[in-house]
Symmetry: C2
Subunit: 158 residues, 2 copies
């Protein structure tokens, strides 16, 4: 299965990018077909005064990157929380299903439009705490990497 | 109140250090007496074969940095989880108590010895998920910073 991790907009902090590169590289040893991509939202969108309009316009762009056949997991505060071991089991349970591609979608600072919630197959939260949507990119990559080491019974995860 | 964030051993990844510096600097705008310190554990400790002996020796060193009068919060997987807003309320509730110093303690990869659990006033977990003890340093600094912005009703936290 191909795994595509989509983030809304560029990563602004170089230190986060360095950490993300680190885990993405290690993750590819387990899942060679994993890809990470940042979706450019047209800049005019952020001139809209209504947050709901911004979210709707973001969703229009984001959804063009998601195919009908994709299994879509979105990162959302209201999503299900897991231990790392339970998250590894979730990953394992989806990987054995027949999807061509699994998309993880990380939103922007305003959260998702209703259209994204309607399209999503599953919602997860990495913590009850709120972290920046920028930092979530690093945390998600680390947890997907950690999940692989758990599934392979390796010593990274104590 | 002075706030001391203690971590066990050095930060190995430069990208994490950059992020930590970023949040520590911003945090000092709210809490000028916050300090972050890494405790050097004698290297011979890590030659011990028994993990429990390592944890015990680590605890002996860590406890020399904690005064009897300190309020001690430890970061532990088994600790209480919070939303960021609830964490801000916890911080606020301790700050108004008469402690001279508040110590947050982040352990090493093996977790804490029983002596640390016995000394701790409170245990918190930043997530049900496990993150590296290195990454927890960045996440804790970000959450303590976020808590200040929540308590001051500022726009960092949506």
């Amino acid at each position: 299965m191909r795994i595509l991790i989509l983030a809304t907009g560029p990563t602004q902090e170089k230190y986060l990018q360095t950490g993300m590169d680190h885990y993405l590289k290690r993750l590819k040893n387990y899942q060679p077909k994993v890809e990470y991509k940042e979706i450019k939202i047209p800049s005019k969108v952020y001139s809209y005064k209504d947050i709901n309009e911004i979210k709707k316009a973001e969703a229009d762009t984001l959804l063009t990157h998601i195919d009908d056949a994709d299994y879509l997991t979105i990162l959302d505060e209201r999503g299900k929380t897991y231990t790392s071991t339970a998250f590894a089991n979730y990953i394992s349970s989806i990987l054995i299903r027949g999807y061509k591609r699994w998309v993880f979608l990380i939103g922007g600072p305003f959260g998702f439009d209703e259209a994204i919630y309607l399209r999503a197959n599953h919602q997860i939260a990495l913590s009850k705490m709120t972290f920046t949507h920028q930092m979530i990119r690093l945390l998600l990559l680390e947890q997907i990497y950690r999940a692989q080491t758990i599934l392979q019974n390796q010593s990274y995860h104590h």
